[in-house]
């Protein structure tokens, strides 16, 4: 390798500085969050905590351990992810496969395509959606969280484009051997699509884990809230609880003492863990899957 020119060296140094500061802006807020969650409450209130805990204090995590609501919501979210992602993947694959055929091979494709494009463009408003979910009897069940979004169109398109880029010869050969579409899909397409499936799995996990609005609208009990809906209720504090419900005096005080920054930080931090744990496992497929799916080769 040639010796670096001076200009090159300067560039490299600056480049590293820029990239490392960018990485730090992404990392430090979470370090700060962790430090706050591990610090003493008064140190936090006094603004002394930066990136290292001040007066190490684990009471926020004790609070989590004893908070039935946090743990319940956490488990509900896990359940939602498991069920929701499984349904997503099956529906996505089943929808993407036929639509990946050319209109020559599959005449009705155009009609179907438009049917699905339309759903991407027109988003129904809240109240009618609620009424439909309610009339189906799904309110307050996990199905209200997984069925309405069972077919994420964007992910389906990623899948579709990936299918489309698979070598045509494979399918033709299989057809000549007398294989039907079901066989081709499960025996040939799906095994070849691991990167893409891993990618959309990651997306679906993230989607389900992060969703909060549906939980807030469709669940009837705080005990049934998924985690993010619960977090929303503690992060965005009520306009004024006092006015809403004439609390007795003692209760109001308790309420105020419980809503503290360290407990909040600890809950937020714990809530980030699953996603952070999930993505390294899927990461290796991630780029191939996405790029091949989004760009027509």
């Amino acid at each position: 390798m040639k010796k670096m020119s001076k200009g090159r060296l300067v560039f490299e140094i600056f480049n590293y500085i820029i990239l490392i500061s960018a990485a730090l802006t992404c990392l430090l807020p979470f370090v700060n969050l962790l430090a706050v969650s591990l610090s003493n409450r008064s140190a936090v209130a006094a603004g002394e905590v930066l990136f290292w805990p001040v007066d190490l204090d684990l009471s926020a995590y004790e609070f989590i351990l004893h908070s039935n609501r946090f743990i319940r919501s956490f488990l509900i979210s896990l359940q939602r992810v498991a069920l929701g992602v499984a349904i997503n993947i099956v529906v996505i694959i089943l929808t993407a496969y036929p639509l990946s055929k050319s209109s020559k091979d599959f005449k009705s494709r155009t009609v179907y395509s438009w049917f699905f494009i339309f759903t991407m463009l027109f988003v129904p408003s809240m109240i009618p959606s609620f009424i439909v979910v309610q009339n189906l009897g799904l309110i307050d069940t996990i199905w209200a969280l997984v069925l309405p979004g069972a077919l994420p169109i964007f992910n389906m398109v990623v899948m579709l484009n990936f299918f489309r880029n698979l070598p045509k010869e494979l399918e033709e050969a299989a057809l000549i051997d007398g294989a039907g579409h079901w066989t081709i899909l499960w025996r040939i397409f799906v095994p070849l699509s691991t990167p893409s499936i891993a990618t959309i799995t990651l997306f679906c996990i993230v989607n389900h884990w992060n969703a909060w609005f549906d939980g807030m609208i469709y669940m009837n009990r705080p005990e049934n809230y998924p985690l993010q809906s619960y977090l929303q209720s503690i992060v965005v504090t009520p306009e004024s609880i006092m006015q809403v419900m004439n609390p007795t005096d003692e209760m109001a005080r308790l309420l105020l003492s419980l809503s503290n920054q360290t407990a909040r930080a600890a809950q937020l931090f714990v809530a980030t863990i699953p996603v952070l744990v999930a993505y390294p496992f899927l990461q290796k497929y991630f780029t191939t899957g996405l790029v091949m799916g989004s760009v027509k080769g």
């Binding site: 609501r69 309610q134 009339n135 189906l136 009897g137 209720s233 609880i241 005080r253 419980l258």
Partner: protein, 561 residues
């Protein structure tokens, strides 16, 4: 088979999605075990008068027990972290629900229970999809809408028949409030009378030690008020007069200053010609806002008030960043409690509001104490059960039952929400307790007032060693120099202004009222933070155009009746 039914239901929904919302009042419970009353409630008669009729004269017992027991459905907004119950209890099973079950044979099941800050959305979807429970509390606007559309039960007869004497006494103690439950001559909702007029106005609270340190008197005028605030800032840099973002409610942290100017935003007041006008748009508000804007620019108020909710303000107060707060009578129990507990000298104490001139005779703004109405589903099988629950609550509240040890640590607002309090209770309690604290003669103290008295006396006698958490709060509320002692003269002289619209929002106004309120809050906030004061004139114009003028006509038509 069940799935088959579900499918069928769905296809019906496809065809009838629209009309269904009009007639299916309730989805049967899905997963949980269906209770007896739920199974039958949908098939009962829709005619309310038929329900009370067959019971006959002899059987009418306002405290009668149901045998077999019945189950009612309701909804509930809570704050989950504070819904703390003793071991094994929960919101549907606690000392009070057990009492209801034992005395009345009534079980209350909740269709939904959600956090207070998410309840509004939940409530909107509930109303929008017309899935009403057996009974619930509706706010004024929703109540009006429901009543106008005859969507809830007319309880005129039902109430007369089943309400206990005590409940009727409570209601007659605040006739205006009770009457606001009537729409078009029919009694549609039992108004929640709240804690009475004395509990409504905001007054001035000052930190005792800071006041002593400043060597100044408690301010009587707004000029002195500013001077004191500035003095506090000299002694304690960074300190402010507390102000909250929520300017929404009828009474808020700005109200006392507004009142000093004869401005009453948030309520409808009677003008000189006897017609009703909306306080939000009166010229006095503009003058007051100009003053507040100046105070804000001078740094007297918290620069960040527009994002501070009650919690934040409380944190600031506890952290020693607040010297003066314009707040309600009960902050001694919570907002300023921590300070007093740690150091009784750092306690906040209440004063009369600062006026323009020291001898001004001002009115205090009381808003409207009735925020909610208990309404009953038309299709309910045992509508009288709701009234019986209120009867039982009144009885036990007066008897002091809820101060028994088994109720310790529970809170009545997590109980089934069919409750009513005596609206004169606070006033009478204050009179008795403050008198007894001065004279030491506690013979007038009733069973229900006893715990209040004990707590307040504890603070009076031994403030450095108190064990009762409510001692300070009760003392600065009901004690001889407490918040009520500041407000009581206003009550006696009839100088507390109630909202003349009395919560009974006329239908067209109901549609735009929230929008107009938002417009108001935005404008006020902007002006305080430095927008040109002329924004106010523009707001008045917009307000009128957007339905405010129509509302004024409508309100006056109603008022004229």
């Amino acid at each position: 088979m069940n799935r088959m039914k579900r499918c069928l239901a769905f296809f019906l929904a496809v065809v009838l999605v629209a009309s269904m919302t009009g007639c299916v009042s309730k989805e049967p419970e899905k997963s949980s075990t269906p209770s007896a009353s739920e199974g039958t409630s949908s098939s009962t008669s829709t005619d309310s008068s038929a329900v009370t009729e067959p019971t006959g004269e002899a059987e009418i017992d306002p405290f009668g027990k149901y045998d077999p027991p019945i189950t009612l459905t309701a909804v509930r907004s809570v704050n989950a972290e504070t819904s703390i119950f003793q071991d094994g209890d929960d919101i549907e099973n606690n000392p009070y629900t057990r009492l209801l079950y034992e005395e009345l044979g009534i079980t209350v099941k909740y269709d939904w229970v959600v956090d207070a800050n998410q309840a509004q959305a939940k409530f909107a979807t509930m109303l929008a999809s017309n899935a009403l429970p057996d009974y619930f509390r509706a706010n004024s606007a929703d109540f009006m809408n429901l009543a106008q559309n005859d969507a809830v039960m007319d309880i005129t007869e039902l109430y007369d028949t089943w309400a206990s004497d005590l409940l009727k006494t409570h209601d007659s103690n605040f006739k205006e409030g009770y009457d606001s439950g009537f729409v078009n001559g029919k009694h549609y909702g039992i108004a929640d009378l709240g804690w009475g007029i004395i509990s409504m106005p905001n007054i001035m609270w000052i930190r005792q030690d800071w006041l002593a340190e400043s060597g100044m008197e408690a301010p009587k005028t707004l000029d002195e008020f500013e001077a004191l605030a500035k003095k506090f800032q000299e002694n304690h840099p960074g300190s402010v007069v507390a102000l909250e973002k929520s300017l929404l409610s009828g009474v808020n942290s700005l109200t006392p200053i507004m009142n000093a100017y004869g401005a009453y935003p948030g309520i409808w007041v009677e003008a000189d010609d006897g017609t009703l006008v909306c306080g939000d748009i009166q010229p006095e508000v503009k003058t007051a806002l100009e003053r507040i804007q100046k105070m804000y620019a001078d740094g007297i108020f918290d620069k960040e008030f527009s994002v501070k909710d009650t919690n934040k303000v409380t944190e600031d107060t506890t952290a020693g960043k607040v010297g003066i707060t314009l707040a309600c009578n009960n902050i001694g129990f919570w907002a300023v409690y921590d300070l007093a507990k740690n150091d009784p000298d750092a306690a906040f104490i209440p004063f009369d509001i600062p006026k323009l001139n020291a001898d001004d005779d001002v009115y205090l703004q009381g808003g409207w104490p009735v925020g909610e109405y208990i309404v009953i589903n038309k299709n309910m099988e045992h509508p009288e059960a709701v009234i019986k629950m209120i009867n039982v609550f009144c009885k036990h509240f007066a008897a002091g039952t809820f101060d028994e040890p088994e109720y310790k640590g529970t809170s009545y607002w997590t109980w089934p929400s069919a409750t009513q309090c005596d609206p004169t209770n606070e006033y009478v309690s204050y009179k008795n307790i403050s008198e007894a604290l001065v004279t030491g003669d506690d013979s007038k103290i009733t069973a229900q007032q006893r715990p209040f008295y004990t707590a307040a006396k504890m603070w009076q006698d031994e403030k450095d060693t108190v064990t009762d958490n409510s001692a300070y709060g009760r003392y600065v509320q009901m004690g001889p120099n407490g918040a009520y002692s500041v407000i009581a003269p206003y009550v006696d002289n009839d100088r507390i202004l109630l909202d003349r619209m009395q919560g009974a929002v006329p239908p067209n106004y109901a549609k735009v009222s929230e929008t107009l309120k938002k417009l108001r809050d935005d404008t006020y906030t902007k002006i305080i933070m430095g927008a040109p004061i002329d924004e106010f004139d523009k707001f008045v114009e917009d307000w009128k155009k957007l339905g405010g003028d129509d509302a004024t006509v409508e309100v006056n038509e109603w008022y004229g009746k």
